[in-house]
């Protein structure tokens, strides 16, 4: 694997340690443009740490990573222009209304002011936020908050979207909508990097990496993974694959 023009995300032996604890242990993978790429693993397997390294929030201890053509260790600020990020923990301003939150991030991304109204309207329509746009964000339900966070990460029309556990704590119907929406983004050429611990969701990804204790366990498309782990069971799903790997 080498970083090529098509590989918008590329990682080689990426490692992160916190003191004596190794959160991410020599992980390598690459993601091509327009792909929905999934990171699958239980809590504490190193998914969030990896995503945070790719977004420039954490500095890798060793290894090499490259996002949108820039080194994650030396040029994080250049990466930040072309990515959108939605954190696992809700991280918008509770004292502001959804409308004010969106406006704030448009300013931070230096989107020219004449485009603001259009972008905000579009984001609100896409994520069906119109009925709550003037309430205080901290009073919204979890589902609304997730949608708002997604809307805000798309405002500046990024090339690559990083979603850290976007559907945790959300009801199944909203989750279905959510994945439909991600499929729609990917068809329009956006690369989506998503982490989850729901096996059924991971089916929607083009390719997957399964993590355990900071190490890659297996990688490939969902059907490849099922095929190689449970070759004798035609009806097996990712859950079965996961169990058979773990045992």
């Amino acid at each position: 694997m080498t970083p090529s023009g098509d590989n918008v995300i590329y990682a080689e032996n990426l490692t992160k340690t916190f003191g004596a604890f190794t959160a991410v242990d020599h992980i390598s993978f690459s993601v091509s443009r327009g792909e929905i790429f999934g990171f699958l693993g239980s809590n504490g397997s190193g998914k969030s740490t990896t995503i945070r390294m790719l977004c420039g929030i954490l500095m890798p201890t060793s290894g090499y990573g490259c996002v949108a053509g820039h080194d994650i260790a030396t040029e994080p600020e250049l990466i930040k222009k072309s990515i959108g990020y939605m954190s696992q923990k809700f991280s918008l301003y509770g004292e502001l209304t959804p409308y004010e939150n969106l406006r704030f991030f448009l300013g931070i991304y230096k989107v020219p002011a004449r485009q603001w109204e259009g972008r905000i309207r579009k984001a609100i329509e896409m994520t069906h936020l119109s009925e709550i746009k003037n309430r205080l964000t901290k009073d919204l339900s979890q589902g609304w908050k997730q949608r708002l966070a997604l809307a805000s990460s798309l405002l500046h029309e990024p090339e690559i979207l990083f979603l850290d556990e976007p559907t945790s704590g959300v009801d199944p119907v909203t989750r279905r909508h959510f994945w439909n929406f991600i499929g729609h983004l990917s068809r329009n050429g956006m690369t989506v990097f998503v982490t989850t611990h729901y096996m059924d969701e991971a089916r929607n990804c083009d390719r997957l990496v399964m993590l355990n204790k900071g190490k890659t366990v297996i990688s490939g498309s969902p059907s490849q993974i099922i095929g190689s782990t449970c070759p004798d069971r035609p009806n097996a799903d990712l859950n079965d694959a996961f169990i058979s790997i773990m045992s």
């Binding site: 929030i57 222009k81 923990k89 301003y93 509770g94 004292e95 406006r103 991030f105 931070i108 230096k110």
Partner: protein
């Protein structure tokens, strides 16, 4: 630096600060209460000295001594009848001085010898005690020359020094004139420091910092966007309480308002810079507030606000000159009381600019766009 980003940061900060009714009230009410309380509390003017008088002599002569004290207007005399009573009053802190007139007082002075008047002073608050004692001694001194005139009606004008003392700058030595300008500075500093010291932590604790880190926002833009809102709030507070101080406490304002405003602006650079610096190096609000307190106490004590810098050991004086409040106080008091102009203050102004610049750039430098 992008003005667009900074503008939106400022707008956001103001919405956060003023949307909550409670914090709105804190921002407006806190400085006024502090100014009022401080203004009345900080007062070293002696208007009353309470005296427990034990008169063993009980003669017209000793009553003359009592009148000499009461005639002064400052001394409030309470007569006691034995030593125990006086000791009890002193122990309980209910009298400042005890005066004992000996039984043979009248006889002694009449035969032309010296009678000893005992003055017992509660030395607990030593500075006030020294002043009270010397007031009492002045009364005795005056009585002395009166008695001499009375006993020796002969020509007794000896060559003596006439003490023509004049007080400059604050002729009535009104504590308020001296302290209120300092209080204005301290109150504004306290609030701006506390607000900014948690300005960045708040984002860390709420998780919003993570979202900001993944944006292309530059540290200097972030720090500027955090400084300006608090600078505006502090300036408005400063103007409001200065006006309040001038009207309410009738503080004379002899100097230039423009100079005062300019000095406030450069002083706020240090105050906000220190707050932001604390905020960038702290992890929790508790930590930030403890750090603020760690700084605010020496800043208050080593500024010449209450304790004269000239009285400090030389090394501590050096530290006092690193303190932005020291310089600001010199300017404030100079402008208010003496009406001094900018030419006198260039060392202070230079010092404030350097300290403020260092602290602000320190916070830009220490602010890491990473979470580890």
């Amino acid at each position: 630096m992008s003005w667009l980003r900074i503008r939106e940061l400022i707008r956001k900060e103001f919405i956060q600060l003023f949307r909550d009714a409670k914090s709105r009230r804190v921002l407006i009410v806190a400085p006024i209460i502090q100014l009022l309380v401080f203004g009345y509390v900080v007062n070293y003017d002696i208007s009353k000295i309470s005296v427990a008088l034990l008169d063993h002599s009980r003669t017209p002569e000793s009553r003359e001594l009592t009148t000499a004290f009461t005639g002064n207007g400052i001394f409030y005399i309470k007569e006691v009848f034995n030593q125990n009573q006086m000791e009890k009053l002193l122990l309980e802190g209910r009298t400042d001085l005890g005066i004992i007139v000996p039984p043979d007082y009248a006889d002694t002075i009449r035969i032309g010898t010296t009678s000893e008047i005992q003055i017992i002073v509660d030395g607990t608050t030593s500075n006030m005690a020294s002043i009270r004692v010397s007031y009492a001694m002045q009364v005795l001194e005056r009585l002395n020359s009166m008695l001499l005139q009375e006993f020796y009606p002969l020509h007794l004008t000896y060559g003596k020094i006439d003490n023509r003392l004049r007080t400059w700058y604050n002729p009535n030595m009104d504590s308020r004139y001296y302290f209120v300008p300092g209080i204005v500075a301290f109150v504004v500093m306290l609030i701006s420091l506390l607000l900014t010291s948690i300005a960045i932590i708040k984002e860390k604790e709420a998780g919003t910092m993570e979202q900001l880190i993944v944006t292309p926002l530059a540290p200097v833009e972030f720090i500027t966007g955090k400084t300006i809102p608090y600078a505006i709030i502090s300036l408005v507070q400063m103007i409001a309480i200065t006006i309040f101080a001038i009207i309410w406490f009738r503080i004379p304002m002899n100097g230039s308002i423009a100079l005062l405003f300019f000095a406030t602006c450069i002083f706020l650079m240090s105050s906000l810079g220190l707050g932001l610096f604390i905020s960038t190096v702290s992890l929790t609000q508790q930590q930030a507030m403890m750090s603020t307190f760690f700084f605010i106490l020496p800043i208050f004590m080593l500024s010449g606000f209450v304790f004269p810098i000239a009285n400090m050991p030389v090394i501590v004086q050096w530290i006092a000159y690193l303190n932005p409040l020291t310089h600001f106080l010199i300017i404030l008091r100079g402008v208010f009381l003496r009406g001094a102009g900018i030419s006198v203050f260039w060392p202070q102004i230079t010092a404030l600019i350097i300290i403020g610049f260092l602290l602000l750039s320190g916070s830009v430098w220490r602010f890491k766009k990473r979470l580890d």
